[in-house]
Every structure is written in C-alpha cells, then in structure tokens.
C-alpha cells in the first residue's frame, strides 16, 4: 500500500468508529454498500483518479445533505492534502449525523455493521479493521443514492478476505463488472460525480464544458423526477419530507448553474415558468375538485353504504351533466332567441291563446297540464314561427331548431359511447378468470364501508361468495328436482309475460280512452280521467317490479342471476309501456292530422268568406284586422306530443318523489316509532326499513332520460324540466338514503355493472330516437304552427338554407352527393372500414392474450430459476460457514442476540456465495444435514432487510425496490 492509501485508511478508521457509534442511524442498502466497495477498489487501481473521484463522491454526498457550501469553502482553502481530507471527513461525519437522523434506518445496515464488528473482534487485524471502516464510510457516503437493484451488486458482500487476496485480479474484474452490470442510472451518476468534481476544481459553473452541463442537467432532471415520483413511494412521511427537501435544495442550487449567457437566462426563465406552471396546475387541480358538485355528499354516502350505492349517485351526477349540456343547447339556441328576437306573444295566431280557451288559460289546473298560456309559449314546438331569419342578428330560427334537435341526439350518442369505451378500457384488464379465488379474497372488502350494518351485510355476502365458490369448485352441486325447477321457471316467465301483455294493453286502452275524453273536452271530466294515462303508467312502473320480484321467488335462481332477470323484466316492462304509449300517440297523431285536413278546408272557406265580405263592402278599405285569437287553427300535433311527454315526465317525477316519501320516509318513521309499542320487532321483522334499490333507481333514471330524448324535439322545455328534476332528486335521494334507508342485503360491486347500465342507456337512446326520427322524417309538419310550418318535411329546412344562404355550387354539390350512386358506395366503404377495424382489433386482442401468456410463463420460469438458485446458495452458505470459521460458531454462542445476527450472516454469505459461484466456481458438495436448518431462515428473514429469492426477479425490479424501502420504514420504530 502506498502512503496515500494508508492515509485515507487511517482517516477512514476514524470515521468508521464514529459511525459505529451511530449504528442505528445509518441507512444503507446492500447494493449501495457493495457498489461503494467496487468503487473503492477501482480507486485503488486508478490512483491518479482517486482523489478526484473521492472528492466527487464526497461532494455529491454533501450536496445531498445540502451542505456543500461548507465543502466548497473547505476546498477553496487549499490546504495540505491530509488536512483537507481530514476536515472533509469531519464535515462528512457531521453531515452523516445530521442527515441520517431524520432518514429512515435500515436495521439491515446496522446488522451488517454488527456482523462486521463481530468479525473484527474475531480477527483483530489492523488491515481488516481499516477495510471495514473503509467499507462503512463509503457505505454511508453512498447511501440513498441508488434505488436500482442489480443482481451482481450483491457480489461479495462484506467479504474482505477474498477481496484482499485476489486484489490484483479482482480489481480488474470488478471494474469490468461494474461497467457491465451497472444500470444506466449508475453510469449517469458516475459521470455525474466526475462532472461535479471537475466543477469543484473550477468552482464557477460558467466554465463548464457542454457535456458536463448536460450531465448536471441530467442530475437535476433526475432529482426533479424523484420529487415527482415521491408521492408514489411507500415511505413514511418523515422520510419523504427529508428527501423532498434535499432534492429541492439540490435542484435549486444547480438549476441556476445551468446554461451559459443567453442560454442561461433562458433556462432560468424556463425553470421559473415551469415552477409557476406546476403551481398553477396544482391550484387548478384543487379548484377543479372543489368545483365537482355534490362531491362531499357522495363521499359521505360512499362511506356509509359502500361503492355500489354511491355509483348510483355518481351516475345521477353524470346524467345531470349531460342534461346540463342539452339544456344549454336548447335554451341558448332555441328558447332564448325566440323569446327575445321572435315576434312577441299575441302577434300571430300561433302565438296567441285561442278565444275559446282564453278564460281558463290562466287557471292553475290548466297550466299544470301545460295547457293555456303554457301551451302557447316557447316551451312548446307550436309557438315557434316559420320566419326564416329573426331579429337584427338574422338568426336562422328554423334551421337552429332543427340542428339543435339533431345535435342533442348526436351529442348524447357521442357521450354515451365514449363513456362506454372508457369503461371497457378500464375493465378490460380484468378479463381473465385465472385469479378467481384470490380476487375474492384480496379485493372483496370495500374499504369505503363505514356503517356497521353495511359491514355486517358485507360479511354475510362475502361468506356466501366464499362458500359458493368452494361449492362450484367442488362441482358437487346437484339439482334435486330439475323438472320442478324447470316447470317453475317456465311458469314464472309465463306469468311475467302475462303481466307485460296486460300492462301494455292497459296503457293502450287508457290512451285510447283519453283521446275520447279529449274529444269530448277535458273540462267535463274528473282529474283522474284527465291524468289517467300518466297515472296508470307510473303506477304500473311502481307495482309491476314488485310483482316480478314475487314471481322470481318461484324460480330459485342464484341472486345475481335473479337480479339480472329482474332487471331484464323491468326493462322490458318500461320499454313495452313506453312503446305502447308511443303507438297510441301515433294513433292520436293520425287522428289530429285528419282533423287538420278538415280545419284546413274550413279555413280556406273561412278566408274566402272573409275576403268576399271585405270585397263586397269596400274594395279600397284597408283589410279587415282580425284578432289573432279569433283565427281558426289546426290541432298542431307536435305540441300535443310535446305536452304528452312533459306530462309523463312530471307525473313520473311526482310518483318517484311520493314513493320516496311514503315508501321510505313514512315507513322509516312508522317503523322507528311504532316499534316501541308493537307486538313484534318492526325493525328486524316484517316491514323493517327499506333498502336503497340501486338497479331500480338506475333504470328509472334511464327511462326518464329516454323520455327526454324522445320528447325534447317537440318540447324544448323538457331538458330544463329534467335538469330541475335531477337537481331535486339529487338532494332528496341523498337525504332519503342517509336518513331512512338501510344498506342492501346483497351488496354488489359497482364496477361490474357500470357498463351494463351504460349499455341499457345506449339501447334506450336508440329506441327513443327511433320514433322521434321517424316522426320527423315521415310526418309532414302542421301547416300553421311550429318553425317548419308550410314545408313538406321538417328537414327541408336544410335544403332551403343551402339554396338561399350558400353559393349555388354548394347546393349543387350536396344534391349530387346525395344521389344513390354516391351514397351507396360510401355506405359500402364504411361497412368495409368497420369490418377491417373489427378484425384488426380482434387480432390485437389475440396477440394481447398471447403476450400475457408468454409473460406469465416467463415469470414462472424466472421464479423457478431463482428458487433453485436460492437453494444452491443455501448449500453454499453452509459450506462456506463450515469451511471458513469454526471460531465464528464459538463467537455466536457468546453473542447476546444470536438469532438475528446468525441469520443475518447467513444471508449475507449465502448471497455472496450464490453469486460468486454463479459466475465462476462449481457448487461445493452439499451438506444434506444442514439443509433444512438453513433453508428455514430465508423467507422468514427477508423482513429484516434481506431479499427472499423472489427479490431477484428480473421481471420485478421495482417490487424489490419497493420492498427495500418498506423494510427501512418498518425498522424505524
């Protein structure tokens, strides 16, 4: 050894002793430790570089602790080498003190040190001591530097003897190894340290070469990345805080040093802007979360009832959002322009209440039915004028009306499909069933549940799930009487079909009857007769599901299957009702159109007579002014349809609210207070409290939305009303759930059903736009009301706009584009494109599955390999221990806490031997007798900082890293 090395060694001894005092506080990872050793050896080899590198390391560490200020000072003083280095060391020692205090400690490190101590006492050789101290010092130096977890870095952990003996040869080898095995990060850090060290020499950052700058920049970026990723680290807060502060300090320190002259300014500016931008982004994020409506309410419900009930409210909120957009469209582009810029009320017949209705037009009963003044307002289709452009803006009203109608539907389709696609993406990961049991085990608890009752229900349901799963696994389930079950199921379905047919007929009957009433004049009839249709529909919607529930008891299905059947039946019921309603409406539309023809004829005769009168009296007199209220007019079927839908919506809303109040609130109150004076336990027994019926409520919401989509074209007020309804039901249902519902007995997962509901919504959207589009396309609009009056078809408005508002060639292009010769190939092309995309997606899916399989088998292979390797390592360890130190045994027996240390030693050596033999020597003969004894501690021990065999998985580098962190945080207690 040359003088230089001796000097450092002495210094190192001091430091090492100092550190021994702080054993518990030193935080290090094995590989770092090891890497440090490599570096140390290299330093020996490359003496010329040694000083530089050492400085670099120290420097780097110092910067870690945020103390390089002192360091620089020390450096500038330019004293004798020995003195300087010693002062550095002292500074380091101090830093070590300060820096390590808050950081998390790994007992592993401490234990390694203890081991080392053991050895020390065993073999009191100076060299050895130096080495250990050396080791420790570097150990401490490099701590926190490396998160990467390279296999080879564990090579020859703490093995001084071998190293000493093979010094010359090993030096080279190690160097090579480091180069070979070090990850990118490692290399970059090496450069980094060199770079920093050169910086130190020149002190001023302005004189840096571009490459050095580049590396510094990289280091800074790395730190930034570290700061970014810090929240994703499973460390304790204290450790995170310390790391954050250090890194921030580092970044701040060196950010300014980057860039030269103009570039430097630019860089500083950029950095400042990114900082500001980050802050802004964070604030904006905060603001955004603060803006999400009802977030707290939903979270409260979520924490009481679990995620499935909350999913209903999230769905409700989503619906609210969609309706908000629809409302904005209709309100902003249709209702407001007409109200502000269109002709005012009373100027033309369609905007006036007819003379006959005028006296009762302001009655509440009439208004409640959306007759009277409500009917002749912007709320309904009939009020809109067919003037092509209105107001000083020349707003194209009919065009806007048409486009808004189309846009509403298009937007809804887009949103629903987009959401479905996103949901499919999210749930697409979990499509394989390979972890059936494990998922049930590890993910079945819903941590959001904060209500003891919900928790009890959840316990019960989890138990059933487990039992079912076991049963299914055994496949020992036998149907005792398959014929009876089959018969009962058929019977149940028959009954349900009867119910559906009955309800359909009832609705049809009621609608026809109401037409008769309407012909007679509504005022002659009772309230019931006037509102029969809506009431019957709502009542059917309320009671039929209960009936279905009773019927489904016959079928004896699994609850999940039963729920699906139930949902399907309710869906069919609602759909049937809605469609019978529409069919009845169609009948009514046809009737109205007949009526319209008669009225039209009458009007021409009326006009003719009017003309005749005026002509006969005085041909020069101004034309007779007729009050618009007196003009005879057609029945305007569009307004009628709109009115029907609005009434339906209102009555549906009312029934929902009333059921809520009676069925939930009143029941809860009765159960709660009558329970004191009742002969059986009401709360636990028959009536009990009502459950929150997620699926029923979602279905109700979906059908309500279907009505909106259907009716919105004829009643622009519908989205507004719906918005109001959703708003109220948000509060009302939140309140009802919290105050008078008990959690469901069968708790279903929210995630599975999300797309199911979305699919239903899509179906409903399709089915509800179908009749609306049909009426728009085929039935000619009324002649005297609405924005399209006087046209043959409603969509003629497009053509009209094209012809009059655009240059001629555009309309020419359109008309030629719409000829079948072009349209058909286009459709064909689209079909082909869809087919192509579908087949490619299928092949991607297959490839995905293949890859997954490959990955899995590879993982398994890796694990097997590693297990074998670990096994070998154990044997080697035994061998090594036997061979090397009989004195160690002796030592151990004297030790106060032999267990841990023994294990620790075992581990260290085991790993070392494993790796060394992996590379070079054949495995030594195995000692069978020792195998079980040494085998045991391996998995047990990993907790103390050693990695189990799986830790070496190349496929899972991050996991093992995470484990390392975790260990350290555990050990901090």
């Amino acid at each position: 050894m040359t003088r230089d090395s001796l000097i450092t060694s002495e210094n190192d001894v001091d430091i090492g002793l100092e550190f021994e005092g702080l054993e518990d506080e030193v935080d290090t990872f094995q590989e770092e430790h090891e890497r440090e050793r490599h570096r140390g050896k290299r330093r020996d080899g490359e003496r010329a570089k040694k000083k530089k590198r050492g400085n670099g390391e120290r420097r780097k560490r110092a910067s870690n602790a945020g103390q390089e200020e002192e360091k620089l000072q020390a450096r500038r003083e330019k004293k004798g080498r020995r003195k300087r280095s010693s002062s550095d060391q002292q500074a380091e020692g101090r830093e070590g003190d300060e820096a390590e205090q808050p950081t998390t400690k790994s007992s592993k490190a401490a234990k390694t040190r203890k081991n080392v101590k053991n050895e020390k006492t065993r073999k009191v050789e100076k060299e050895e001591k130096e080495d250990e101290a050396d080791d420790e010092e570097r150990n401490a130096k490099r701590k926190k530097k490396h998160g990467s977890n390279n296999k080879e870095e564990n090579v020859e952990d703490g093995n001084k003897h071998t190293v000493k003996e093979k010094a010359g040869e090993v030096k080279k080898k190690k160097h090579k190894k480091v180069v070979e095995t070090s990850s990118e990060k490692e290399t970059s850090e090496e450069e980094d340290s060199e770079e920093e060290d050169s910086e130190e020499k020149e002190v001023r950052p302005e004189t840096l070469t571009p490459e050095e700058l580049e590396t510094l920049k990289e280091a800074v970026d790395e730190r930034k990345k570290l700061i970014q990723g810090l929240r994703g680290k499973p460390w304790a807060m204290k450790k995170k805080l310390v790391t954050l502060r250090e890194s921030q300090e580092f970044v701040e320190k060196y950010e300014g040093a980057l860039g030269k002259g103009k570039g430097r300014k630019l860089y500083a500016y950029k950095v400042m802007m990114t900082k500001k931008w980050m802050k802004f982004k964070r604030d904006f994020e905060n603001f955004k979360t603060a803006c999400i409506p009802w977030e707290m309410k939903i979270k409260e419900i979520e924490s009481h009832f679990g995620s499935s009930v909350a999913s209903y409210f999230i769905f409700l909120r989503w619906m609210y959002g969609i309706n908000m957009i629809l409302f904005c469209l209709t309100f902003g582009l249709v209702m407001v322009p007409e109200a502000l810029m269109g002709r005012p009320y009373g100027t033309i017949p369609r905007k006036t209440v007819p003379r006959a209705e005028a006296p009762s037009a302001m009655d509440f009963a009439v208004l409640w039915d959306f007759g009277g003044y409500a009917q002749y307002s912007v709320l309904f289709y009939g009020y809109y004028n067919n003037q092509r452009a209105i107001g000083w803006l020349k707003f194209r009203m009919p065009l806007s009306y048409f486009l808004v109608g189309v846009g509403t539907v298009a937007y809804s389709y887009m949103v629903v499909i987009r959401t479905m696609a996103r949901n499919a993406n999210e749930s697409g990961v979990g499509d394989d069933n390979s972890f059936n049991f494990s998922w049930k085990m590890f993910t079945s608890w819903d941590y959001l549940i904060g209500n003891p009752e919900t928790a009890d229900n959840k316990f019960a349901s989890i138990t059933t799930i487990f039992k079912e799963a076991i049963l299914e696994e055994q496949e020992s389930r036998k149907d005792d009487n398959i014929h009876l079950t089959r018969f009962l199921r058929v019977l149940a379905n028959f009954l349900v079909l009867c119910c559906l047919a009955g309800s359909g007929y009832l609705i049809y009957f009621v609608v026809r009857r109401s037409q008769k009433f309407a012909l007679d004049g509504l005022e002659n009839h009772t309230w019931w007769e006037r509102n029969e249709v809506n009431m019957v529909m709502s009542l059917l919607g309320m009671f039929c599901p209960m009936l279905f529930d009773v019927i489904s008891a016959l079928e004896n299905y699994h609850p999940r299957v039963a729920l699906q059947w139930q949902l399907g039946r309710i869906f069919a019921l609602f759909l049937g009702n809605l469609y019978t309603f529409i069919i009845a409406l169609m009948d009514e539309i046809n009737l109205k159109r007949e009526e319209e023809k008669i009225v039209k004829f009458n009007i021409t005769t009326w006009e003719a007579s009017l003309y005749n009168i005026s002509a006969s009296e005085n041909s020069t007199a101004p034309p007779v002014t007729i009050q618009p209220a007196d003009v005879p007019r057609g029945p305007c079927w569009e307004t009628m349809v709109g009115q029907e839908f609005v009434r339906l919506m209102i009555s549906d809303t009312m029934t929902t609210y009333i059921t809520l109040l009676i069925g939930d609130f009143l029941r809860a109150v009765l159960v709660r207070f009558l329970n004191y004076c009742w002969c059986w336990d009401l709360e636990a027994g028959f009536p009990s409290y009502s459950e929150f019926d997620v699926s029923g409520n979602v279905l109700g919401l979906i059908f309500n939305q279907g009505m909106i989509w259907m009716g919105a074209f004829y009643a622009p007020c519908l989205p507004a009303l719906n918005l109001l309804r959703l708003h109220v039901s948000m509060y009302l249902q939140c309140w009802a759930v919290m105050c008078c519902n008990v959690p469901q007995e069968r708790v279903f997962k929210a995630s599975g059903s999300n797309n199911f509901y979305m699919a239903m919504l899509l179906v409903i959207l399709f089915l509800s736009t179908l009749p609306a589009i049909y009426t728009i396309v085929t039935i000619p609009p009324s002649f005297d009301c609405g924005p399209f009056s006087g046209k043959k078809h409603m969509f003629d408005v497009i053509q009209e706009t094209l012809e009059s508002d655009f240059p001629a060639w555009i309309s020419k292009v359109f008309s030629s584009a719409s000829n079948p010769g072009l349209v058909l190939p286009f459709i064909l092309l689209m079909v082909l494109a869809i087919y192509y995309l579908q087949s490619t997606s299928k092949s991607y899916k297959e490839a995905n599955v293949d890859l997954k399989k490959k990955l899995q088998t590879q993982n398994e292979e890796n694990k097997k390999k590693n297990k074998l390797a670990a096994l070998k390592a154990q044997m080697d360890l035994e061998e090594a221990r036997k061979a090397t130190s009989p004195s160690a045994e002796h030592q151990k027996n004297n030790n106060a806490s032999p267990d841990q240390e023994d294990e620790e030693e075992d581990r260290g050596r085991g790993q070392r031997m494993y790796h060394s033999q992996n590379g070079r020597s054949p495995p030594p003969p195995r000692h069978d007798g020792y195998l079980p004894a040494t085998r045991a501690p391996v998995p047990r021990n990993y907790h103390h900082g050693n990695q189990g065999s799986a830790g070496y998985l190349p496929g899972f580098p991050r996991e093992s890293e995470a484990r390392m962190h975790r260990v350290s945080s555990l050990q901090r207690h």
């Binding site: 929240r231 680290k233 499973p234 304790a236 807060m237 204290k238 995170k240 805080l241 954050l244 905060n286 979270k299 924490s303 995620s307 990961v429 979990g430 390979s434 972890f435 059936n436 049991f437 998922w439 085990m441 590890f442 993910t443 608890w445 819903d446 941590y447 549940i449 904060g450 209500n451 919900t454 928790a455 009890d456 316990f459 019960a460 138990t463 487990f466 076991i470 997962k749 929210a750 995630s751 599975g752 993982n859 398994e860 694990k863 590693n866 998995p939 047990r940 990993y942 907790h943 189990g948 065999s949 799986a950 998985l953 991050r958 996991e959 995470a962 484990r963 975790r966 945080s969 207690h973």
Partner: protein, 189 residues
C-alpha cells in the same frame, strides 16, 4: 377552515400536497378531523401521536375489519402501539385516496394482510384474512374444511413459485389484474 390552514402552515401544506395524493381541501379536512381526535392539552404540542383506540373511533375505520392492521401498518411509533401522528394519518389517507396508484395501494394492502409482518402471506395470514372478511359471528364463519379448501385454492392460483406463501410480487401480480381493487381500496373522510 381558516384557523386550520394557518395552523398547518403554507409551506407544510404545499409539501404535503407534493408528497401525498391528496388535494389541499382533503389535507385541511384531514387536519381538522385529526385535531378533533386530540385532547385539549395535546393540541398545543406539535407532532402528537394519537393512540390507536382513539383513531379507531373514526366512523370511516370503525367497521373495517382491518382497522387494527391499518393502524399498525401506518404507525411510525416506536412502541408499535399503532398510534398515528398527523403525518402518518396523511400517509394513510394518501394511500387510500382516489388518485393513489395501484402500486402503492397494493403495497399497503399487502402489508395490511401480512398479519405477522414477516413479508409473506402464509397460511396463517390467509386464515386470519378470511376470518376478518367473514366477520366475527359464528354463523358466517367458514368451517375448517372449507377454510382449508379455500386457502389451497388461493395458493394454487397466486403462489407462482410454489413456496407455500404469497409474496409481494405475486400479490401485486394478482391484484393488478383485479377490476375492482382500486375502486374498493379507498377510504374517504
């Protein structure tokens, strides 16, 4: 809210935001809830540790079968009594928050399920886990036979290296494919 904000300090608040998955409002709410748990004289001391039994009175944790484990895992107390400081509490909420990554969630889930803290889920851990999930009452308990079957099935599926235990990487492998883990491994204040 204003008082809590000033108590927490702007720097701390922004650091906490940097280090957790929580938003500012959530941190403030957490602070409020945490100070409610403190007794009067504890309020003046910085970094007070709230004992586990008082933490468990929080309704969000009260009916959770893993409440004790959660406290143990997130506690940094030297006495291993499961007491939490405010920072530990934030760590807890951060791991259970909406925006926490799958990785961190699965990491903590593993530690929660690892009842004996030995770094792997062995048969004992799994048995305890099943008992936690099925509740304390006898009628929901599984019979020993069922239990054995269940644990065997689980090990069959997820113990890839067949060493009789489930380690962290195996656990994360299993969890990462589960559709509802992220949505159910949540606690909100």
């Amino acid at each position: 809210m204003g008082t809590t904000a000033s108590q927490l300090g702007k720097d701390m608040l922004s650091e906490y935001q940097e280090l957790t998955f929580l938003t500012k409002q959530e941190i403030l709410l957490a602070h409020k809830r945490f100070t409610e748990l403190l007794t009067k004289d504890e309020k003046d001391l910085p970094n007070t540790r709230v004992p586990m039994d008082r933490i468990l009175t929080l309704p969000e944790l009260k009916s959770n079968p893993f409440r004790k484990r959660i406290c143990d895992v997130f506690s940094t107390s030297e006495y291993k009594d499961g007491g939490l400081t405010f920072e530990d509490f934030l760590d807890l909420l951060s791991a259970f928050s909406d925006s926490a990554t799958l990785e961190i969630k699965s990491h903590y889930a593993f530690r929660i399920f690892d009842f004996d803290d030995d770094g792997t889920l062995d048969c004992g851990d799994l048995e305890k886990l099943v008992n936690c999930l099925t509740g304390e009452t006898d009628d929901t308990r599984l019979t020993p036979e069922e239990m054995r079957q269940l644990i065997n099935n689980i090990l069959e599926e997820s113990d890839i290296d067949k060493d009789g235990t489930v380690n962290l990487s195996e656990f994360q492998h299993v969890i990462s494919r589960s559709p509802d883990f992220v949505s159910s491994f949540k606690i909100v204040l």
